[in-house]
Symmetry: C2
Subunit: 204 residues, 2 copies
Protein backbone atom coordinates (compact mmCIF):
# COMPACT_ATOMS: atom_id res chain seq x y z
CA UNK A 1 0.00 0.00 0.00
CA UNK A 2 2.07 2.82 1.50
CA UNK A 3 3.91 4.45 -1.36
CA UNK A 4 1.20 3.61 -3.92
CA UNK A 5 -1.60 4.82 -1.72
CA UNK A 6 0.44 7.87 -0.74
CA UNK A 7 0.86 8.69 -4.41
CA UNK A 8 -2.88 8.14 -4.93
CA UNK A 9 -3.70 10.48 -2.09
CA UNK A 10 -1.34 13.09 -3.48
CA UNK A 11 -3.00 12.81 -6.88
CA UNK A 12 -6.44 13.19 -5.35
CA UNK A 13 -5.35 16.22 -3.35
CA UNK A 14 -3.87 17.82 -6.44
CA UNK A 15 -6.98 17.12 -8.46
CA UNK A 16 -9.12 18.67 -5.71
CA UNK A 17 -6.87 21.74 -5.64
CA UNK A 18 -7.02 22.19 -9.41
CA UNK A 19 -10.78 21.71 -9.32
CA UNK A 20 -11.35 24.27 -6.56
CA UNK A 21 -9.06 26.83 -8.16
CA UNK A 22 -10.71 26.37 -11.56
CA UNK A 23 -14.29 26.68 -10.29
CA UNK A 24 -13.28 29.77 -8.33
CA UNK A 25 -11.73 31.33 -11.45
CA UNK A 26 -14.81 30.43 -13.55
CA UNK A 27 -17.12 32.05 -11.03
CA UNK A 28 -15.03 35.19 -10.69
CA UNK A 29 -13.85 35.70 -14.28
CA UNK A 30 -16.33 33.72 -16.37
CA UNK A 31 -15.90 30.31 -17.94
CA UNK A 32 -15.14 31.46 -21.48
CA UNK A 33 -12.38 33.91 -20.59
CA UNK A 34 -10.59 31.61 -18.12
CA UNK A 35 -7.92 29.57 -19.92
CA UNK A 36 -6.22 26.30 -19.02
CA UNK A 37 -3.05 28.34 -18.53
CA UNK A 38 -4.82 30.57 -15.99
CA UNK A 39 -5.98 27.53 -14.05
CA UNK A 40 -2.59 25.81 -14.15
CA UNK A 41 -0.79 28.96 -12.99
CA UNK A 42 -3.22 29.65 -10.15
CA UNK A 43 -3.00 26.06 -8.89
CA UNK A 44 0.80 25.85 -9.18
CA UNK A 45 0.96 23.07 -11.75
CA UNK A 46 2.16 23.01 -15.35
CA UNK A 47 -0.31 23.19 -18.23
CA UNK A 48 0.62 19.58 -19.03
CA UNK A 49 -0.25 18.49 -15.48
CA UNK A 50 -3.59 20.28 -15.73
CA UNK A 51 -4.40 18.36 -18.90
CA UNK A 52 -3.43 15.08 -17.21
CA UNK A 53 -6.23 15.64 -14.74
CA UNK A 54 -8.71 17.34 -17.06
CA UNK A 55 -8.26 16.68 -20.80
CA UNK A 56 -10.34 19.80 -21.60
CA UNK A 57 -11.58 22.78 -19.64
CA UNK A 58 -15.22 21.62 -19.72
CA UNK A 59 -14.19 18.43 -17.90
CA UNK A 60 -13.79 20.51 -14.72
CA UNK A 61 -17.41 21.57 -15.07
CA UNK A 62 -18.44 17.92 -15.36
CA UNK A 63 -17.01 17.32 -11.87
CA UNK A 64 -19.07 20.25 -10.65
CA UNK A 65 -22.20 18.92 -12.37
CA UNK A 66 -21.59 15.44 -10.92
CA UNK A 67 -21.47 16.95 -7.46
CA UNK A 68 -24.79 18.71 -8.02
CA UNK A 69 -26.35 15.46 -9.27
CA UNK A 70 -25.03 13.52 -6.27
CA UNK A 71 -26.59 16.03 -3.91
CA UNK A 72 -29.92 15.78 -5.75
CA UNK A 73 -29.82 11.99 -5.61
CA UNK A 74 -29.00 11.99 -1.88
CA UNK A 75 -31.88 14.32 -1.21
CA UNK A 76 -34.28 12.19 -3.27
CA UNK A 77 -33.23 8.96 -1.56
CA UNK A 78 -33.62 10.45 1.91
CA UNK A 79 -37.03 11.91 1.18
CA UNK A 80 -38.38 8.75 -0.46
CA UNK A 81 -37.04 6.71 2.44
CA UNK A 82 -38.92 9.02 4.82
CA UNK A 83 -42.13 8.30 2.93
CA UNK A 84 -42.54 11.49 0.89
CA UNK A 85 -44.70 11.18 -2.24
CA UNK A 86 -42.64 10.70 -5.42
CA UNK A 87 -44.16 13.68 -7.24
CA UNK A 88 -43.46 15.89 -4.23
CA UNK A 89 -39.85 14.73 -4.27
CA UNK A 90 -39.60 15.28 -8.02
CA UNK A 91 -40.77 18.89 -7.70
CA UNK A 92 -38.34 19.40 -4.79
CA UNK A 93 -35.43 18.13 -6.90
CA UNK A 94 -36.61 20.30 -9.74
CA UNK A 95 -36.67 23.40 -7.53
CA UNK A 96 -33.22 22.66 -6.16
CA UNK A 97 -31.87 22.25 -9.67
CA UNK A 98 -33.50 25.55 -10.67
CA UNK A 99 -31.95 27.23 -7.61
CA UNK A 100 -28.46 25.96 -8.31
CA UNK A 101 -28.75 26.79 -12.00
CA UNK A 102 -29.99 30.29 -11.23
CA UNK A 103 -27.23 30.92 -8.69
CA UNK A 104 -24.48 29.63 -11.01
CA UNK A 105 -26.10 30.76 -14.21
CA UNK A 106 -22.76 31.16 -16.03
CA UNK A 107 -21.60 27.61 -15.33
CA UNK A 108 -24.70 25.80 -16.57
CA UNK A 109 -24.85 26.75 -20.28
CA UNK A 110 -21.37 25.35 -21.07
CA UNK A 111 -22.35 22.21 -19.14
CA UNK A 112 -25.54 21.85 -21.19
CA UNK A 113 -23.66 22.43 -24.44
CA UNK A 114 -21.19 19.74 -23.40
CA UNK A 115 -24.03 17.21 -23.26
CA UNK A 116 -24.84 18.16 -26.85
CA UNK A 117 -21.23 18.35 -28.01
CA UNK A 118 -20.95 17.39 -31.70
CA UNK A 119 -18.05 15.14 -30.68
CA UNK A 120 -19.94 11.96 -29.64
CA UNK A 121 -17.20 10.83 -27.24
CA UNK A 122 -17.38 14.10 -25.29
CA UNK A 123 -21.18 14.14 -25.37
CA UNK A 124 -21.27 10.62 -23.95
CA UNK A 125 -18.78 11.48 -21.20
CA UNK A 126 -20.91 14.49 -20.24
CA UNK A 127 -24.09 12.48 -20.32
CA UNK A 128 -22.61 9.89 -17.97
CA UNK A 129 -21.23 12.52 -15.61
CA UNK A 130 -24.65 14.16 -15.28
CA UNK A 131 -27.11 11.36 -14.57
CA UNK A 132 -30.19 13.57 -14.11
CA UNK A 133 -32.41 11.06 -15.88
CA UNK A 134 -31.23 8.34 -13.47
CA UNK A 135 -32.24 10.52 -10.51
CA UNK A 136 -35.65 11.09 -12.08
CA UNK A 137 -36.04 7.36 -12.75
CA UNK A 138 -35.20 6.62 -9.13
CA UNK A 139 -37.90 9.03 -7.96
CA UNK A 140 -40.61 7.83 -10.32
CA UNK A 141 -39.97 4.10 -9.85
CA UNK A 142 -42.27 3.71 -6.80
CA UNK A 143 -45.09 5.41 -8.77
CA UNK A 144 -44.36 3.18 -11.73
CA UNK A 145 -44.45 0.09 -9.53
CA UNK A 146 -47.73 1.24 -7.98
CA UNK A 147 -49.26 1.33 -11.47
CA UNK A 148 -49.74 5.10 -11.45
CA UNK A 149 -47.69 5.77 -14.57
CA UNK A 150 -48.40 4.83 -18.14
CA UNK A 151 -46.62 1.65 -19.11
CA UNK A 152 -46.57 1.90 -22.92
CA UNK A 153 -43.43 4.03 -22.60
CA UNK A 154 -40.56 2.69 -20.51
CA UNK A 155 -39.73 4.49 -17.30
CA UNK A 156 -36.24 5.12 -18.69
CA UNK A 157 -37.61 6.81 -21.80
CA UNK A 158 -39.96 8.98 -19.76
CA UNK A 159 -37.10 9.95 -17.44
CA UNK A 160 -34.85 10.79 -20.40
CA UNK A 161 -37.50 13.04 -21.90
CA UNK A 162 -38.00 14.86 -18.61
CA UNK A 163 -34.24 15.35 -18.20
CA UNK A 164 -33.89 16.58 -21.80
CA UNK A 165 -36.71 19.02 -21.26
CA UNK A 166 -34.84 20.52 -18.33
CA UNK A 167 -31.87 20.99 -20.65
CA UNK A 168 -33.90 22.86 -23.29
CA UNK A 169 -35.81 24.99 -20.81
CA UNK A 170 -32.62 25.96 -18.97
CA UNK A 171 -30.75 26.74 -22.18
CA UNK A 172 -33.55 28.96 -23.49
CA UNK A 173 -33.81 30.68 -20.15
CA UNK A 174 -30.07 31.36 -20.11
CA UNK A 175 -29.95 32.48 -23.73
CA UNK A 176 -33.03 34.69 -23.86
CA UNK A 177 -33.86 35.34 -20.25
CA UNK A 178 -37.57 35.75 -19.67
CA UNK A 179 -39.57 37.70 -17.15
CA UNK A 180 -40.23 34.42 -15.39
CA UNK A 181 -37.78 32.86 -12.94
CA UNK A 182 -36.23 29.60 -14.14
CA UNK A 183 -38.00 27.76 -11.33
CA UNK A 184 -41.38 28.71 -12.74
CA UNK A 185 -40.39 27.81 -16.33
CA UNK A 186 -39.16 24.44 -15.15
CA UNK A 187 -42.27 23.70 -13.08
CA UNK A 188 -44.56 24.48 -16.01
CA UNK A 189 -42.61 22.18 -18.32
CA UNK A 190 -42.52 19.36 -15.76
CA UNK A 191 -46.24 19.65 -15.20
CA UNK A 192 -46.87 19.44 -18.94
CA UNK A 193 -44.78 16.27 -19.19
CA UNK A 194 -46.54 14.65 -16.26
CA UNK A 195 -50.11 15.68 -17.07
CA UNK A 196 -50.10 16.18 -20.85
CA UNK A 197 -51.35 19.04 -23.01
CA UNK A 198 -54.71 17.52 -23.81
CA UNK A 199 -57.34 18.21 -21.17
CA UNK A 200 -58.14 15.42 -18.75
CA UNK A 201 -61.85 15.07 -18.60
CA UNK A 202 -62.89 14.43 -14.99
CA UNK A 203 -66.30 13.15 -16.09
CA UNK A 204 -65.43 10.56 -18.72
CA UNK B 1 -39.48 50.03 -61.94
CA UNK B 2 -37.40 48.66 -64.80
CA UNK B 3 -33.77 48.99 -63.79
CA UNK B 4 -34.48 48.66 -60.08
CA UNK B 5 -36.71 45.65 -60.52
CA UNK B 6 -34.28 44.20 -63.02
CA UNK B 7 -31.52 44.53 -60.44
CA UNK B 8 -33.81 42.96 -57.82
CA UNK B 9 -34.56 40.05 -60.11
CA UNK B 10 -30.86 39.58 -60.82
CA UNK B 11 -30.14 39.55 -57.10
CA UNK B 12 -32.84 36.99 -56.46
CA UNK B 13 -31.58 34.77 -59.26
CA UNK B 14 -28.04 34.97 -57.93
CA UNK B 15 -29.20 34.17 -54.40
CA UNK B 16 -31.14 31.17 -55.71
CA UNK B 17 -28.08 29.97 -57.63
CA UNK B 18 -25.79 30.29 -54.60
CA UNK B 19 -28.40 28.52 -52.46
CA UNK B 20 -28.82 25.60 -54.86
CA UNK B 21 -25.10 25.16 -55.37
CA UNK B 22 -24.45 25.31 -51.62
CA UNK B 23 -27.13 22.77 -50.69
CA UNK B 24 -25.87 20.47 -53.42
CA UNK B 25 -22.29 20.73 -52.09
CA UNK B 26 -23.48 20.15 -48.50
CA UNK B 27 -25.38 17.04 -49.55
CA UNK B 28 -22.52 15.62 -51.59
CA UNK B 29 -19.50 16.61 -49.50
CA UNK B 30 -20.94 17.22 -46.03
CA UNK B 31 -21.74 20.51 -44.33
CA UNK B 32 -18.65 20.74 -42.12
CA UNK B 33 -16.10 20.16 -44.87
CA UNK B 34 -17.71 22.52 -47.43
CA UNK B 35 -16.23 26.01 -47.09
CA UNK B 36 -17.58 29.41 -48.14
CA UNK B 37 -14.78 29.46 -50.72
CA UNK B 38 -16.00 26.17 -52.19
CA UNK B 39 -19.54 27.55 -52.50
CA UNK B 40 -18.41 30.87 -54.00
CA UNK B 41 -16.20 29.13 -56.55
CA UNK B 42 -18.86 26.62 -57.59
CA UNK B 43 -21.48 29.35 -58.03
CA UNK B 44 -19.15 31.74 -59.89
CA UNK B 45 -19.19 34.57 -57.38
CA UNK B 46 -16.47 36.02 -55.16
CA UNK B 47 -16.24 35.08 -51.50
CA UNK B 48 -17.29 38.64 -50.67
CA UNK B 49 -20.42 38.31 -52.81
CA UNK B 50 -21.28 35.04 -51.08
CA UNK B 51 -21.06 36.76 -47.70
CA UNK B 52 -23.29 39.59 -48.97
CA UNK B 53 -26.04 37.06 -49.47
CA UNK B 54 -25.26 34.76 -46.55
CA UNK B 55 -23.28 36.30 -43.67
CA UNK B 56 -22.29 32.79 -42.47
CA UNK B 57 -22.46 29.32 -43.92
CA UNK B 58 -25.26 28.19 -41.60
CA UNK B 59 -27.48 30.96 -43.01
CA UNK B 60 -27.85 28.87 -46.20
CA UNK B 61 -29.24 26.06 -44.08
CA UNK B 62 -31.75 28.45 -42.54
CA UNK B 63 -33.19 29.05 -46.03
CA UNK B 64 -33.47 25.30 -46.43
CA UNK B 65 -35.13 24.93 -43.03
CA UNK B 66 -37.56 27.78 -43.85
CA UNK B 67 -38.58 25.95 -46.99
CA UNK B 68 -39.27 22.77 -45.02
CA UNK B 69 -41.34 24.74 -42.48
CA UNK B 70 -43.34 26.44 -45.25
CA UNK B 71 -44.19 23.08 -46.77
CA UNK B 72 -45.30 21.78 -43.37
CA UNK B 73 -47.46 24.84 -42.78
CA UNK B 74 -49.07 24.56 -46.23
CA UNK B 75 -49.87 20.93 -45.62
CA UNK B 76 -51.36 21.70 -42.19
CA UNK B 77 -53.52 24.54 -43.51
CA UNK B 78 -54.86 22.44 -46.37
CA UNK B 79 -55.68 19.48 -44.16
CA UNK B 80 -57.34 21.56 -41.45
CA UNK B 81 -59.34 23.39 -44.11
CA UNK B 82 -60.49 20.00 -45.41
CA UNK B 83 -61.78 19.15 -41.96
CA UNK B 84 -59.06 16.77 -40.73
CA UNK B 85 -58.79 16.41 -36.95
CA UNK B 86 -56.03 18.60 -35.46
CA UNK B 87 -54.26 15.71 -33.73
CA UNK B 88 -54.26 13.74 -36.98
CA UNK B 89 -52.70 16.72 -38.75
CA UNK B 90 -50.14 17.17 -36.00
CA UNK B 91 -48.97 13.55 -36.30
CA UNK B 92 -48.85 13.93 -40.11
CA UNK B 93 -46.64 17.00 -39.81
CA UNK B 94 -44.53 15.17 -37.28
CA UNK B 95 -44.05 12.20 -39.63
CA UNK B 96 -43.15 14.47 -42.55
CA UNK B 97 -40.60 16.26 -40.41
CA UNK B 98 -39.16 12.89 -39.34
CA UNK B 99 -38.98 11.82 -43.01
CA UNK B 100 -37.21 14.95 -44.16
CA UNK B 101 -34.85 14.88 -41.19
CA UNK B 102 -34.05 11.21 -41.80
CA UNK B 103 -33.43 11.74 -45.52
CA UNK B 104 -31.21 14.80 -44.95
CA UNK B 105 -29.73 13.62 -41.69
CA UNK B 106 -26.48 15.56 -42.19
CA UNK B 107 -28.19 18.91 -42.71
CA UNK B 108 -30.38 18.85 -39.60
CA UNK B 109 -27.85 18.76 -36.75
CA UNK B 110 -26.10 21.99 -37.79
CA UNK B 111 -29.56 23.57 -38.15
CA UNK B 112 -30.51 22.47 -34.64
CA UNK B 113 -27.21 23.70 -33.21
CA UNK B 114 -27.85 27.06 -34.91
CA UNK B 115 -31.08 27.45 -32.92
CA UNK B 116 -29.00 26.95 -29.77
CA UNK B 117 -26.07 29.07 -30.92
CA UNK B 118 -24.37 30.72 -27.91
CA UNK B 119 -24.46 33.98 -29.91
CA UNK B 120 -27.98 35.23 -29.06
CA UNK B 121 -28.33 37.22 -32.30
CA UNK B 122 -27.70 34.11 -34.40
CA UNK B 123 -29.92 31.94 -32.21
CA UNK B 124 -32.76 34.44 -32.59
CA UNK B 125 -32.32 34.60 -36.37
CA UNK B 126 -32.43 30.80 -36.56
CA UNK B 127 -35.45 30.62 -34.29
CA UNK B 128 -37.35 33.06 -36.51
CA UNK B 129 -36.35 31.26 -39.70
CA UNK B 130 -37.67 27.95 -38.37
CA UNK B 131 -41.14 28.66 -37.00
CA UNK B 132 -42.00 25.06 -36.07
CA UNK B 133 -43.75 26.17 -32.90
CA UNK B 134 -45.96 28.52 -34.97
CA UNK B 135 -46.99 25.62 -37.21
CA UNK B 136 -47.83 23.55 -34.13
CA UNK B 137 -49.80 26.45 -32.64
CA UNK B 138 -51.78 26.81 -35.87
CA UNK B 139 -52.69 23.10 -35.77
CA UNK B 140 -53.66 23.02 -32.10
CA UNK B 141 -55.64 26.28 -32.11
CA UNK B 142 -58.97 24.68 -33.17
CA UNK B 143 -58.59 22.14 -30.34
CA UNK B 144 -57.75 24.92 -27.94
CA UNK B 145 -60.80 26.89 -29.02
CA UNK B 146 -62.98 23.80 -28.66
CA UNK B 147 -61.89 23.55 -25.00
CA UNK B 148 -60.05 20.28 -25.49
CA UNK B 149 -56.67 21.52 -24.28
CA UNK B 150 -55.63 22.57 -20.84
CA UNK B 151 -55.78 26.32 -20.44
CA UNK B 152 -53.48 26.91 -17.48
CA UNK B 153 -50.57 26.92 -19.92
CA UNK B 154 -50.79 29.21 -22.95
CA UNK B 155 -51.07 27.59 -26.35
CA UNK B 156 -47.85 29.33 -27.34
CA UNK B 157 -45.95 27.84 -24.41
CA UNK B 158 -47.29 24.36 -25.13
CA UNK B 159 -46.32 24.72 -28.80
CA UNK B 160 -42.82 25.92 -27.86
CA UNK B 161 -42.30 22.92 -25.60
CA UNK B 162 -43.43 20.53 -28.32
CA UNK B 163 -41.11 22.18 -30.87
CA UNK B 164 -38.18 22.12 -28.43
CA UNK B 165 -38.80 18.45 -27.75
CA UNK B 166 -38.48 17.70 -31.44
CA UNK B 167 -35.11 19.47 -31.37
CA UNK B 168 -33.80 17.37 -28.48
CA UNK B 169 -35.14 14.07 -29.80
CA UNK B 170 -33.70 14.72 -33.27
CA UNK B 171 -30.32 15.81 -31.91
CA UNK B 172 -30.02 12.73 -29.72
CA UNK B 173 -31.08 10.52 -32.58
CA UNK B 174 -28.46 12.08 -34.87
CA UNK B 175 -25.72 11.98 -32.25
CA UNK B 176 -26.24 8.49 -30.84
CA UNK B 177 -28.41 6.76 -33.38
CA UNK B 178 -30.77 4.23 -31.87
CA UNK B 179 -32.30 1.03 -33.13
CA UNK B 180 -35.54 2.93 -33.51
CA UNK B 181 -36.33 5.08 -36.55
CA UNK B 182 -36.55 8.81 -35.82
CA UNK B 183 -40.24 8.73 -36.72
CA UNK B 184 -40.95 6.36 -33.86
CA UNK B 185 -38.84 8.34 -31.38
CA UNK B 186 -40.67 11.51 -32.34
CA UNK B 187 -44.12 9.93 -32.10
CA UNK B 188 -43.42 8.59 -28.62
CA UNK B 189 -42.23 12.00 -27.41
CA UNK B 190 -45.22 13.80 -28.97
CA UNK B 191 -47.60 11.35 -27.38
CA UNK B 192 -46.00 11.91 -23.99
CA UNK B 193 -46.38 15.68 -24.33
CA UNK B 194 -50.01 15.39 -25.35
CA UNK B 195 -51.12 12.73 -22.90
CA UNK B 196 -48.71 13.06 -19.99
CA UNK B 197 -46.62 10.50 -18.12
CA UNK B 198 -49.06 9.97 -15.27
CA UNK B 199 -51.75 7.43 -16.03
CA UNK B 200 -55.16 8.74 -17.00
CA UNK B 201 -57.70 6.89 -14.98
CA UNK B 202 -60.71 6.01 -17.17
CA UNK B 203 -62.87 5.39 -14.12
CA UNK B 204 -62.42 8.54 -12.09
Amino acid sequence: MDSTSLRERQKERRRARIYNVAIDLFKRGGFQTTTATDIARASNVSRGTFFNYYPYKEAVLLDYGSEVMNRLRDHAETRLHDGAAPLTVLYEIWDRLADENTRERDLFPPLAYEVMNPNPERARTAYQALPLSKVIELILRPMHQAGLMRTDLSLQRISNLIADTYLMVALRWSAYGTERPLQEEMRLALNLLLEGAVKRDPRS
